[in-house]
Amino acid sequence: MSPSALTISEVDKFYGPIDRGVHAVKKLTMEIARGEIVALLGSSGCGKTSTLRMIAGFEEVSRGAISVGGRQVHTLPPVKRNVAMAFEGYSLYPPLTVRENMAFALKAARLAKSEVDAKVASIAKLLEIEDILERYPSSISGGQQQRASLGRALIRDADLHLLDEPMGQLEPQLRAVLRGRIKHFIKERGLTAILVTHDQTEANALADRIAVMEGGVLQQFDTPDRIKERPANLFTGTFVGEPPMNVFEAFVAAAPGKISLKLPDGLSLDYDKDAFSAPVRDQLLSRDRVMIGIRPYAVRRSKDGVPARVSANQWLGDQTHIAADFAGGSLVLVEHDRTRLDLGAPINVSIDPKNLHVFDQASGMAISHGMELA
């Protein structure tokens, strides 16, 4: 028995004729282990939903192969794939009550009625929809429908659970509570789940690993921590993280004992040669232009830093987001105290080389993260 729950190998998806139609998913390869929760994260049209629907069997695989539990499924009809799915549009059956909708999903499993009732009750409790079990989909709110739809997917005992934007319609508080419960539920039963989302908080909170997609291409497939700390390229770096990473183009200049990163507007970030680890230093010195990225949390205000000018200042209740005009662009920094700065006030910022992400200027691929090479 293969240990992987899902294997996608070199899958292409074209809408329209192969090689001439819209190329929605490009040479996607990924492997998901049993019991793992994976999030497909990306903006609209990045190919994440196409991928999910190919796994479910609602879209044909143009090229490549998909296996579930070691069994090739991409040519099988949905009914033979043994996967469960929660749909973004809920897709509850209108003539059935919420209870019947959920129980219906178990019909093919041919369980005893008492067992079905018990399962429905426990899922309903988990998702806080016990009070609407006897109502019809048309008479409940979007959030309730979404939970019913999620329940219909989770109640099944499938090899793979596919969740398409499973919590998009829920209120923030409820979403936070349910995230925890659903994760616990999935882990406790050892289910394998793939969720599609454009909400990185959800991806971070639920997933063991996140697959970041853009333009039909898998950009990075890694744990949430590593995606945040070691983004594989500029896209992942700027896409994941809130507020987004600051990115500037820099010219590398070497002086005796120093390395300077020359920014537009005549600004320069000057570092001691020894501030970088040897491999990173060698990489920097071997190029003349790079892209540098700094997380907003890593930007510090200090007296002897590089000058910038405040352009916006927002107190969010638990942190301050300060935007400043800097090096011909905008720099965002986050402070945990309430900082009062007037618009146009001059500030000085410094960036620790430990927090510097360096990317190749042409390809956008990561070169180094702090002291380590990518």
């Binding site: 949905p78 009914v79 996967v83 749909f87 897709s91 059956y93 003539p95 093919a108």
Partner: protein, 285 residues
């Protein structure tokens, strides 16, 4: 609820009454004529007060038409039965063929699917007279002329495009994900069609069927040319009342009353579905 002033409501009431009188008057007049003899009908000026007689209905039901020139046999009851049989069977065949076709056109885009659907619709563009002559010749060669089978076949020209296009719109309105949800739950394609798509499109199918029934019932020209007396529906059969000794207005009226009663009753009963079905299914972007 919007607020309307008294004067607005009165004006609206008057306008509605006028419209209703305008449209209902012919039916009322025919209803009244059906209880009169030709003599009283043709009086000038026409009278609202008359002595009602059931003679017209008796003549129709017994099939004996008394005219000044003598007794004529008419096959009105036979015609009525033909109408019922032809319309019901045609609609049933159309539903059997059209609903699965509509589902296919709604759900599966294949090469030429739009062209085929449009061709079927175009049957409704062509004036019946255009196809009648070749059709008659073919039917005579094939031995289909003056058979129920042939008539029902030709009636598909009327019913099938109507059902196909209305029901297709209905199927397209059902989110495909509802069906996917059912299929992924371990059910076959056909079970999904039967258990999910058909019930959800039910009102639309009913509306389309009803409309097709009315169109089939009202058809005149196909049956006129392709059927002889024993296969003719009421629309054609009514011609028999134009006799050598004059037009039998009383019997014609009674025949009309009898022949519109089934469709009128059906339409009234299913009015709600008709309006809902047509406005939900067909009128969409």
């Amino acid at each position: 609820m919007e607020h309307t002033s008294l004067i607005e409501r009165i004006l609206r009431g008057i306008a509605l009454t006028l419209v209703v009188i305008f449209f209902m008057f012919p039916i009322l007049w025919i209803f009244m004529m059906s209880f009169q003899t030709n003599e009283t009908i043709l009086r000038i000026p026409p009278q609202l007060i008359f002595e009602p007689t059931l003679a017209n209905y008796t003549a129709l039901i017994t099939g004996k038409l008394m005219t000044a020139a003598g007794t004529l046999d008419i096959a009105f009851m036979r015609n009525l039965w033909n109408s019922v049989f032809l319309s019901v069977t045609s609609v049933a065949v159309s539903l059997l063929l059209g609903v699965p076709a509509a589902y296919a056109f709604a759900r599966h885009k294949f090469r030429g699917s739009e062209d085929i659907a449009f061709t079927l619709l175009s049957f409704k563009f062509a004036p019946a007279l255009l196809v009648l002559l070749p059709l008659t010749l073919y039917f005579q060669k094939l031995g289909l002329a003056n058979t129920y089978f042939g008539l029902i076949w030709v009636y598909q020209l009327i019913c099938l495009p109507l059902i196909l296009w209305i029901v297709r719109g209905y199927f397209e309105d059902i989110p495909a994900d509802i069906e996917y949800a059912y299929r992924i739950g371990g059910h076959s394609w056909f079970a999904t069609f039967r258990k999910i798509a058909l019930p959800l499109a039910g009102p639309g199918i009913a509306a389309a069927g009803l409309l097709a029934f009315i169109f089939a019932w009202n058809n005149f020209v196909f049956a006129l040319v392709l059927a002889s007396a024993d296969k003719q529906p009421v629309t054609v059969g009514a011609l028999a009342f134009i006799t050598s000794s004059g037009i039998q207005y009383g019997q014609i009226s009674a025949a009309i009353v009898l022949s519109i009663t089934p469709t009128l009753a059906l339409a009234l009963y299913a009015q709600r579905y008709l309006v809902e079905g047509l406005s939900l299914g067909a009128v969409k972007g």
